[in-house]
Amino acid sequence: MRGPSIVVRTVARWVVAFIFLYGIFIVAFGHLTPGGGFAGGVILACAFVLEVLAWGKESALAGFPFRVAKRLDSAGALLFLALALLGLLFAGGFFINVIQRVEPGQPLRLFNGGIIPLANLAIALKVCASLFLVMVVLSALRVRAGGSDADLASEEEE
């Protein structure tokens, strides 16, 4: 049968969960240990890409639909912008760390740092959704050399 062998699929089933957990750890502790929103977002996207490679695009899209990914992408960017505007509204300057100014927490704990963990989360959402979209679109494509546009099989618009 076509597709990856059963060894690949069984191992991938366990590994996807670990990659996802590792990605969440890197994003959440981004302001304390090396990592941050970008690296964590790319690791989360890698978990979904592994699912696409091991089980095919339909299985990955069943768990994380196309339109949800598109909206999550835009939501991440808008959340980042909203956090920046919060600074403008409450502290008089674009992108000022309002939460840290108003109510500084204890240093080096998980839930302090003001705007920084939230901005990490927004960036991670955006990067993960974007890279998953690109991977799905690239693997949905079935090009034939010299074909016309009607042969270009791609995801239907939603």
């Binding site: 080096l108 690109v134 090009v143």
Partner: protein
Amino acid sequence: MVYVLCLLLFMVGLFGALTQKNLIKIIVSLAVMEYAVNVFLVVLGYRAGGSAPIVASAAEPARQFAAGSVDPLPQAMVLTAIVIGLGVLALLTAIALRLYHTYGTYDITKIRKLRG
């Protein structure tokens, strides 16, 4: 010496981008140029014997930490540059796939006539 090697890597990529005829090889040359520039930027910020710019404990005095750590500013800039490089590479691959679909080849000397 380290600077010269980074520059050599960049020149290798540049020469490849100028002379190669296969579209995928051109994309590969662009990726090599991008790696060279990233390494060069981080090398600029390195302090000999320095430690990573991560505060381990709040008890350590700030002056001592600042005197022993590497420069964090180039690292932050390179972080964004790496992720932007990935996005640009995805776009380039999409263009290459579209060209292959229309012309049937990756050879740029054959992609001449505007079609479709």
